[in-house]
Amino acid sequence: MKELRLMKGNEAIAEAAIRAGADAYFGYPITPQSEVLEYLMSEKPHERTGMVVLQAESEIAAINMVYGGAAAGRRVMTSSSSPGISLKQEGISYLAGSQLPGLILNVTRGGPGLGTIQPSQADYFQATKGGGHGDYKLLVLAPSSVQEMADFAKLGFELAFKYRNPVMILSDGMIGQMMEKVEMFPQQARLTEEEIIKKYPWVTTGKTPDRERNIITSLILDPAEQERHNFRLQKKYKDMQENEVRFETFDCDDAEYLFVAFGSTARICQKSVQLARKKGIKVGLLRPITLFPFPSKIIEKLAHQVKGILSVEMNAGQMVEDVRLAVGGDIKVDHFGRMGGIIPMPDEIVTALKNKIIGG
C-alpha cells in the first residue's frame, strides 16, 4: 500500500534524506527551514539507519563538515536559508573545486541582508551563476511541491555522485512551510565502507598498498594543471547541459503567450493560466525544474510559437536574463515579480501579462 502522509516541505525532505540512505546531515537553525533540523533530531535517524545528525556551531562549520564527509564518499547534506547560504559560499566553491558531491538545500527568504523570513526567489543568481568564487556550477533543482522536496533529496544525492559535484535544491519559504500529500519512497540502505570504496575509487578512506594516494584538493598551484582541471570541470557542466535538463509544460500546445516560472511561483502561475484562459487569453506555462542546466532549448522552441513571454519570479528579475538569452530577441520578453517576501497573487500575474506583454 502507498504510504501517504501530510507533511511540510521541510519535513518531507528531511524524511526523504534518511530514506535516501544519507550518512550525515550538518546544519544550523534559521527560519524558514528550521523544521529540517528539528525533524531530523526528533526522528533520531542514528537509531533507524545510523545516519549522523549534528547541529554545527555555525553554517560555515556545517558546510565544511559536508566537505569532510563527501571526501570520504559519504552521502552528506546541509540546509539553510538565504543569509546562511551566503555564509556557506566559500565551502561550496571548495566542494566544486575539489569535485565533491554534497546536497545543499536553500529554503530561500527575502533579502538582501537578514531581510525577512517570508518566501523569495532572489537567490537565483547566487545558485545558478556561482555564489562563491571561481568558474564553477552547481546542479540546481527547483522543487514546486512537497512531493518534489522528497523526491529531489534522492535525485540530488544521485546526481551529486554521478557528477562528483555539489547539488543545490533551491526551494523557498512557501514550499518549505506548506503541507501537501506526500508518497514516501521506501528506505534505501546506507552504503557500507566496502561498497563506497568499490563504487567511488576516488574517496579518501585510508591508503591501501595496492593503489596510489587519493588526493582531494582544490589547490593546484601549477597554472597549466589548474587550467586542465578547469577544462575537466567545464566538460562536466557541458555533460550536465546535455543530459540533465528537466522541465514541465502546462497548456503550451495552443499557447499564444507563455509564463516561465520555477518553484512556488510556478504553482501560482498554474492558477493564473486557468484564470487567463477563462478570459480567453491562451497562455501556457513552462516550469524549469533544473535551473542549471537551464531548459534553453524548449524556451527557444516555444519562442517560435508564442507572441510574448513573461518570466514570473519573486525577485527583481533574475531568471528573465536566461529566458532572454534562450529566446534571442525575436519576441517580447518581460519580467513580473514581487520582492521582500510578498507572494504574487494569481490575478495580479494575469494583469501583469496583459499590461507588460499583450498590451505592452
Binding site: L6, Q118, M174, M178, M179, E180, Q270, K271, P346, E348
Partner: protein
C-alpha cells in the same frame, strides 16, 4: 470538486490544526490537498491564517486571492477576508469578539457560537473542532469517518484518548449552525 478555504483567527485558537485535520481528512478519501499557513511575524502572537484546498484534481496555487469559503474567528480577519469570498461563496464566523458583522449580500453567511459551546462542554481547547463541525454541516466535503481518521493521523498517540471528545465537539458544531 475543488473547495478553496481560508481559516483565519488569533494564534492559539487552533486555526492551523483545524486546517491540518481537514487536509488529512481529504487525503483519507483519496483527494489532493494543500495547507499553506501564514508563518510570518503574525504567528508570533497576532493573527493566524491558513489556506486549505481540497480537490479531486491536482492543486495548482496553494495561495489564492479569492475563496469558496472563509471561516473567520476574529474581527481583524473579518476586515481582511470578507471581501475575498467568491460571489455565492460561504462565510462562517463566530460572533464572539466580532464588533462589525458581515455586510455582503451576495454570499451565504452562517454563525456558530463555538467559543460558547466549547465552554459549555467544559474544554475551550475543542473550540476549533466545534467550528469544524459547523463547517462540515454546511459543506459536507469530507465524511465523518475520514475526519476521525484524519484526527488520528494528525494527533500524536498520546492524545488519542481525546479523539472521542473531539468527535463530540464536531457533532456539537454540526448541531449549532445558525443561518
Amino acid at each position: 470538486m475543488t473547495e478553496e478555504i481560508i481559516i483565519a483567527g488569533f494564534g492559539g485558537q487552533g486555526v492551523l490544526s483545524m486546517g491540518k485535520i481537514l487536509a488529512y481528512s481529504g487525503i483519507m478519501q483519496d483527494q489532493e490537498v494543500s495547507w499553506m499557513p501564514s508563518y510570518g511575524p503574525e504567528m508570533r502572537g497576532g493573527t493566524a491564517n491558513v489556506t486549505v484546498i481540497i480537490s479531486d484534481e491536482r492543486v495548482s496555487s496553494p495561495i489564492l486571492n479569492e475563496y469558496d469559503t472563509a471561516i473567520i474567528l476574529n474581527q481583524q480577519s473579518m476586515d481582511k477576508f470578507e471581501g475575498t469570498i467568491k460571489p455565492g461563496g460561504t462565510l462562517l464566523y463566530d460572533p464572539n469578539g466580532i464588533t462589525r458583522h458581515p455586510e455582503r449580500k451576495d454570499i451565504n453567511i452562517y454563525q456558530v457560537t463555538a467559543a460558547e459551546k466549547a465552554a459549555e462542554m467544559g474544554n475551550t481547547k475543542i473550540f476549533n473542532m466545534v467550528v469544524l463541525g459547523a463547517y462540515l454541516k454546511i459543506k459536507p466535503i469530507v465524511k465523518m469517518e475520514n475526519v476521525i481518521k484524519g484526527l488520528k493521523k494528525s494527533l500524536p498517540d498520546r492524545y488519542h484518548h481525546l479523539i472521542a471528545l473531539n468527535e463530540e465537539a464536531i457533532t456539537m458544531g454540526m448541531n449549532s449552525v445558525i443561518e
